[in-house]
Assembly symmetry: C2
Homo-oligomer: 691 residues x 2
């Protein structure tokens, strides 16, 4: 790639961003030379408005500062760089021209590409900007604003220019305190606004998702990147998944247990392929208090290497088999990709099951039984359809033999999402950890093992599938409140009588083991409450106003399809059935939506066309790793060359990879060929862009 490009204008800049594989959102507008003008441009939530300041010292060294618009840029940070603030001046028009071939009102980090004489000595980035998902910047010209991530700016754009950058706290201390105070006020304001409706439609998917999870009170943001607070509304869902899955695995005589979170490097390193798959993401504890640990300890990214030394102690004879344990824990993987609540987080919750068997056959059977359980969690609990399949060799679990998976496809953008995986580990780990047993003929053998995991990511899939423009839509079996009762006060109706009726209904529903909430707060209007509980996704709202009171009825409003009807009080026992019907209807619709995102392709052109229409593609495939790799690379390159908008929607870019080889598939005949390389096909495989 050409590292010495210059960017004469907006078009050149945008072309370059695409060439570098940088995702951006762009907005055209009237010239916005000052930050005040910039603030009028509507950008996405989580995007920072950036002030660009070009300073110059007496020796004509330039320093470009990118600061959040609220940051009061102080003087003291210069010291950190070994410089004196007294020597620094804001650049004048001609100096900006000299350094960046640009002008006042057009200072931006992209223009550094034009600094062919290396006059800009340092690019200083406001520490505060780290907290934002994207930065709003002008691409050379101030008639357009692009939103790009700081990460892309640093690691894709500035890096290729070989430019140094320094992340610093720019405010002086007194100013900082004031700013903290302001931020707090803003947070409180934001809080007050939070119960207001979601400001975007689901078609603006990424922004919609960010708003839904906060406004439905599932997630609170946290100040450690990639870590989020699971609020009770979300954690309840996880508890339902735990109960449901625990009941399933109990039928397989799996026992719950707890192994330590810390792991010595020695054990982690024991299985080579395994450690290669995880080591870049492992978080290390090296200190306690003020002291260094003798040996750093890894935090579990998964527990194979934590558990299996103990397995070696416990398994002696075939009578000790099968050994089946499961644990519900937190897990840490320090991933590099941009974090998304539930979907990709650095700390997450999961269950991990581990079994050891005397025969391969028994272990393989275990793998598929668990896979069926995962399908049930998704289908019967979350109303999310999945496709059962096998991962290709290059996508399987590091160190395992083969990996089975439940995959789903998010209808809104056609991205594949791995729902849960169940691995056959073969004897790879048992040989490394010497887990062997004496069979009934006194012969020593290594055990056959499985491991399998399901994470809080499943909640993210559920939100993405069912939510709508009004907010979250919860399938009934995981909703903390399945039903909310809202009294509608009216001058014709005695308030106390109304409340008593509502309480009476609540008691009836509790007896039916329904999870029901009566919202009798008198400081909010019924309309406000309707919005509130719709946003939080409660499956059924029961309204009781003067008409219902008089007629001994309730008005039922179904969240997922907004259907409204009256039922008599004596028919309240139908609600369990109604909730089941809602579940089934949601799953049915979700399955339809998923299927509409699976297309077939016989050749490359059709493949790319379907991919760019946000679909996953089922193709015949030769099953060669080399071919898989080429498809991935080529689809990535060709995606990037497409226009960024199709039918008014932002185009996804990125490579297509194999999601799985579905278990249910037609037999491929001799002579049928791979859609890509033309060699004899062996399996149908599902391709797609993925989370």
């Amino acid at each position: 790639m050409d590292n010495n490009f210059q960017l004469a204008n907006k078009q050149a800049c945008l072309d370059q961003l695409r060439k570098l594989g940088i995702d951006y959102i762009s907005h055209d507008h009237d010239p916005a030379p000052t930050i005040e003008e910039v603030l009028k441009i509507k950008v996405s939530d989580g995007t920072a408005y950036v002030k660009n300041l070009l300073y110059v010292d007496k020796k004509q060294n330039y320093y470009l500062i990118l600061a959040n618009h609220t940051t009061q840029v102080g003087k003291q940070f210069w010291k950190t760089l070994g410089l004196s603030s007294g020597n620094m001046r804001l650049s004048k028009e001609e100096q900006i021209g000299e350094a960046l071939k640009s002008s006042k009102g057009n200072v931006n980090p992209f223009a550094v590409a034009n600094d062919t004489n290396n006059l800009v000595k340092n690019i200083i980035i406001d520490e505060v900007l780290r907290k934002y998902q994207r930065l709003a910047l002008h691409p050379i010209e101030n008639t357009t604003t692009v939103e790009i991530s700081l990460d892309d700016l640093q690691n894709k754009f500035l890096k290729i220019l070989n430019r140094q950058f320094t992340v610093l706290q720019l405010t002086d201390e007194a100013a900082e305190q004031k700013q903290e105070q302001q931020q707090k006020e803003q947070q409180k304001d934001q809080q007050n606004l939070q119960t207001l409706a979601i400001t975007v439609k689901k078609s603006d998917f990424s922004e919609w998702y960010q708003q839904v999870i906060r406004k439905a009170e599932l997630i609170e943001y946290y100040d450690v990147s990639g870590c989020y607070i699971l609020r009770p509304w979300a954690y309840f869902i996880w508890e339902q998944i735990q109960r449901f899955f625990d009941d399933l695995i109990r039928t397989e005589e799996v026992e719950n247990t707890y192994f330590p979170m810390f792991l010595s490097g020695k054990h982690l390193n024991k299985e080579k392929e395994h450690v290669e798959g995880f080591k870049a993401e492992v978080a290390w504890v090296t200190k306690y208090g003020e002291s260094d640990l003798n040996e750093p300890l890894a935090i579990r990214p998964t527990s194979e290497t934590i558990m299996y030394p103990a397995f070696a102690k416990w398994v002696q004879s075939h009578r000790d088999l099968p050994l089946k344990v499961n644990q519900w824990t937190n897990i840490v993987r320090w991933e590099f990709k941009f974090p998304t609540p539930f979907i990709r987080t650095r700390e997450f919750l999961w269950q991990e099951g581990h079994t050891a068997h005397s025969t391969r056959e028994e272990a393989v059977k275990q793998v598929y039984t668990i896979l069926d359980f995962y399908e049930q969690v998704y289908g019967e609990l979350l109303a999310v359809p999945v496709i059962k399949g096998i991962k290709t060799e290059s996508e399987k679990f590091a160190g395992g033999d083969f990996t089975t998976t439940v995959e789903t496809i998010i209808p809104q953008n056609g991205r594949g999402l791995q729902g849960a995986t169940s691995h056959h580990l073969g004897q790879n780990f048992s040989k490394m950890f010497e887990i062997n047993f004496e069979d009934d003929k006194k012969q020593k053998s290594f055990v056959w093992q499985t491991s399998w995991g399901l994470t809080t990511r499943s909640i993210g899939a559920m939100i993405m599938f069912h939510g709508d423009d009004k907010g979250l839509v919860l399938p009934p079996r995981i909703a903390k409140y399945q039903i909310v009762i809202i009294p509608i006060i009216h001058k014709d109706l005695h308030e106390q009588q109304l409340n008593e009726r509502c309480e009476q209904i609540r008691q009836i529903l509790i007896k039916q083991k329904l999870r029901v909430h009566l919202d009798s707060r008198d400081n909010y209007s019924p309309g406000w409450k309707f919005n509130k509980w719709e946003q939080k996704g409660v499956p059924i709202r029961l309204e009781i106003g003067p008409g219902e009171f008089k007629n001994n009825e309730v008005r039922v409003v179904q969240r997922y399809d907004n259907q409204k009807y009256q039922i008599k009080l004596e028919e309240l026992n139908q609600l369990n059935q109604i909730l089941d019907n809602i579940h089934n209807a949601m799953l049915h619709k979700a399955r339809f939506d998923l299927n509409s995102r699976i297309k077939q392709a016989e050749n490359w052109k059709d493949f790319m066309s379907q991919l760019n229409q946000r679909n996953t593609i089922l193709t015949k495939w030769c099953q060669r790793e080399e071919c898989e790799k080429q498809v991935k690379t080529k689809s990535g390159i060709e995606s990037k060359e497409k226009d960024s908008e199709v039918d008014g929607q932002i185009q996804l870019t990125g490579s297509a990879k194999t999601l799985c080889m579905p278990l249910q598939q037609d037999q491929i005949q001799e002579g049928e060929i791979c859609f890509h390389c033309g060699q004899q096909a062996k399996k149908y495989v599902l391709w797609g862009r993925s989370y």
Copy 2:
């Protein structure tokens, strides 16, 4: 203290150990000059037999090596010290005399005290020894062996001599592999022995505890110090505690949630007293993969400072209060005291609840409601009696206002054990984290907070209370199997018929919602099974032999009191009641045992006398911190001067501290005085040595 003591003989050595406050176990025996002889001496489980090697180089520098007896001391470690193995020779008799005033067969680290000319340049300790609880060493003379901890040897004995020591891996690599292999074989042997009976009586308490937790399959040891594996038999107990406590707090409308495990130093440091209380024990993540984190992250030692910034966002108005959340998580505290499974571990499981209220009154009420719940967990579930009380100012939660506690006393040794605590935090944290609200008069106030926690330590207390010489005894409500059915095969009885009968009984009991296990394995004898399930503490064993079969009966054997009786098949529905009776009887006995460890004292002499008879002591107290401190110091000093054995039992040493001021206590009158300082007494307080 005299740092330049010399140790002429065994007596001088033992006296010195006591003077330095070093706990030891000693065994007298025939002279054991070689490691082969030493291996014949029976020492405690978890104690290493140590080879002591004195090397000398050409310049007459001496090096003392302490190696595990199985360690093949290699040559390569010398390089680590900048020395050459070629120059090293084992010392001869006269050289040992010169350096240590000792002789061959009497080399030991205590003799370093006699090296007045500083000839011993370094003391090298085998890294492997870190894994052992204690080391077996001769106190100068080889007719006695003492077991002391490496920590005491390093930090109490060698430190006072101002001696350097270096912990090193002593084996060369090839040797190490061989050794690993040997260790593995030994582990397997040990495993085979594990189902054999516990080798000590409960009166040998510490050793008994170590054996019970392993042989009942509650705990597996793990290679990170202070971390243990909770096996299914133990984790099931924790799940019962979770369910029971979740049901209780649900009545208080507490919601479960999950906050991140990581914490930036900035927030941790916000509440000064709080951070002072925890910072020495905090584990820090500083790296991921090969990279350093920009800012180290603390792992939660407790979550006040993780949660309260979010509380500040959520609480705006009095309508947002009370706010009540709870989470079940792992917790890390890198404690320095010697770890004991369940009782003191570096990673443990707990629940932590946090509430915020608009008035002090409401918060205080919450504190005591939770304290009652903790009493119920202990009493109604674990059959462990507790004393509710308030901690003194010096023992309260760091940063809180006051701490309430449920304390128990382990009857075997009279040690106090803090069972769970419920803190009133006042407004200390809300002021630091600006958690304020607008009341109904639009006035701003800070919230009043509580926090409260219960840990897996509760399981340890249960084991200590109820276990007996045969092993674990489980109270029925937490037992994974409440009943085990054992068929007794006999030539007069058709095996299939017997098994069918057993299965039929199992089905009847399952319908009664009893947790029942049928042990119909044909490769173990009934006697072996009796032992096995007794060791694991199953409350009831049902035996069915020819007599029972014929008479339509079962034989009931109660674990806790070994009572045996027949019941008719049609009386099987009594078993639920029988289990309840067992629970009540166990709790009753436990309460009696606990009460027998609480004595009163009016003066110092009686106080020390009771303390040394392994009791806790309830005294009148002036409630002054200064007085409390003096009692602690004085009792510590006077304990150490006592003989090490009383009535053939090892004497506990260590200070007495305040356990709590019991809630139920008599009013103290004007003129009644503090047992220690003689000033006006204010409260009764319970003192004791504690876990």
